[in-house]
Amino acid sequence: MQRLISRSLGPLALATSVATIVMGLWVTPPDVVQGDLARLLYIHPALAWVALYLSFGTATVASALYLWPRTRSMTADRIAEAAVEVSTLFIALTLITGSIWGRPTWGVWWVWDARLTSTAVLGVFMLGILALRRANDDPAVRAKRSAVLALLTALNVPIVHFSVLWWKTLHQGATVFTDNRDIKIHGSMAWTLLLSFIALSLVFSWMVRTRYRIATESQSQRDRALDDAVAQRRQEGAQ
C-alpha cells in the first residue's frame, strides 16, 4: 500500500497540476473586478500555503523529532532538510507570483507590506538554515544546529500569519476563511482554487520524497566509499 502511494505520488501531482492549469486558464471565467489577472490567484495562495505552512510545518515537526532524544534519527534530519529546501523554493515562487500580481494592481513590483516583508524575512531565514547546514561537516552537529534553527524560525511564522492584523497592510484579506464566514469565491473558481491547493500539496510531497531519496542514496554512496577505502587500506597493510 505504502509502495503504491509512493509510486502514484508523482503522476498524481502531475495530473492535478495539469488540471489546475486547464481549469485556471480556460474553464473559469475572468473576475468581474480583476479580469484575467485573478487567474494568478489560483496558484499564489496555494504556493503560500505550501511555503509557509505545509513545508515549513514539516521541517519544524521533523526538527523537533530530531531534537527529542527518543525519536532522534537521520531520517528526521533528511526530511527536515528536504522540507526546508522545498520551502525556500516555494517562498521564492510565492514572492514572484505576488509581485507579478502586485505590479498591475498596486503599480509597483514591491511594497513594504507586512505580509510581503515577513514572507521575505522567512525566506532569508530558510537560506540561513541551508547556509548553516553547509557550514558544518559533522552530520550530528549539522543536524542538531539546523534543527534548533528551524525551531527558532518557527517562532517567526506566527509573526508572518498575524502580521496582517498587527500592522496596517495593503495585502488582500482572506477570501475563504473570513471573519464573518462569508466565502467570497464560488462555483468553478472555488473548485479551481481548491484543486490548486491539492495539486501543490502533492507536488510538495513528491519533491520532499524525491529529495529524501537522493539524500539517503548520497549517504549510502559515501558509506560504501568509506568502507571500500578502509578495506583497501587493510589489504595494503596485509600485503
Partner: protein, 216 residues
C-alpha cells in the same frame, strides 16, 4: 539555576572587563556609525528627528551583531567554552547567564549610542528617558535571541549576520515604531507587547535548547 546563571554572567563580564574591547573598540565604532548615518541624512534638523528612531535602531542592530560575535569569540579564545561544556553545567542556566552578560554589554554600547543620538538628532532628554524601558526591552529581545544565534554559528562567524538579522528584524521594526511613538506620538502598546513576546519566547526556547546546541 539563578546562582549558576549569575556566575556565568560574572565570568563573561570579567572576560570583557579584562580585554576592554567593548569600551575601546565596539562603543567607539557604534558612535562613528551613528555619525556617518547622520552625515548621510544631512543637516536638516526636522529630517534628522524624523529618521532618528530608525537610524538608532539600525545602528544598534548592527552593533549588536558585533557584540554577539565578540562575546562568543572572547570565550573561545580564552578557552572557557570548552571548560564550561566539560563541567556539564545546566544548559538553561548557562544560557541565562550569557543573556545577562550580553544584555549588560548591549546596555553599555547603547548608552553611548543614545547620548550621541540625542545630540546629533536633537532628541530631548525627556524623550530618551520615556523611551528607556522600551529600549531595555529591545535589548533584552536582542540578547535572548543573540545568545542562541551566536552559539549556532560558533566556528563560522560570517554566518551570524545571515541567520541573526532576519530574527532581529521584528526587534528593529518594533523598537523603531515605539521610539517614533515617544518622539512623534502614536500607539506604542502593541510594539511593547511584540518585544515582550519575543523576549519571553526566545528565552523559553533558549533555556530548553541551549544545552543541546552547546553539547556538540
Amino acid at each position: 539555576m539563578i546562582r549558576l546563571a549569575l556566575l556565568i554572567a560574572r565570568k563573561d563580564l570579567r572576560i570583557e572587563w579584562r580585554s576592554r574591547v567593548l569600551v575601546w573598540q565596539v562603543a567607539p565604532f557604534s558612535v562613528m556609525a551613528l555619525v556617518v548615518a547622520g552625515l548621510a541624512v544631512g543637516p536638516d534638523v526636522a529630517m534628522g528627528r524624523r529618521l532618528a528612531p530608525g537610524l538608532l535602531y539600525l545602528v544598534t542592530t548592527f552593533v549588536a551583531l558585533q557584540v554577539i560575535a565578540r562575546s562568543h569569540a572572547a570565550e573561545s579564545s580564552a578557552g572557557t567554552a570548552t571548560s564550561v561544556i566539560t563541567l556539564g553545567l545546566d544548559g538553561g542556566a548557562v544560557y541565562l547567564g550569557k543573556v545577562i552578560a550580553l544584555f549588560t554589554h548591549l546596555v553599555i554600547v547603547t548608552s553611548a549610542l543614545l547620548v550621541t543620538g540625542s545630540v546629533l538628532f536633537h532628541i530631548h532628554i525627556r524623550e530618551v528617558l520615556v523611551a528607556t524601558p522600551t529600549l531595555a526591552l529591545s535589548l533584552a529581545a536582542i540578547a535572548s535571541s543573540g545568545v542562541l544565534y551566536g552559539a549556532l554559528t560558533k566556528g563560522s562567524g560570517s554566518l551570524l549576520p545571515v541567520i541573526a538579522l532576519p530574527a532581529l528584524a521584528p526587534v528593529l521594526i518594533a523598537g523603531e515604531r515605539s521610539l517614533t511613538a515617544v518622539i512623534h506620538g502614536g500607539p506604542m502598546a502593541r510594539w511593547v507587547t511584540l518585544l515582550g513576546v519575543m523576549t519571553v519566547a526566545y528565552g523559553a526556547v533558549g533555556v530548553l535548547l541551549y544545552g543541546a546546541v552547546e553539547e556538540n
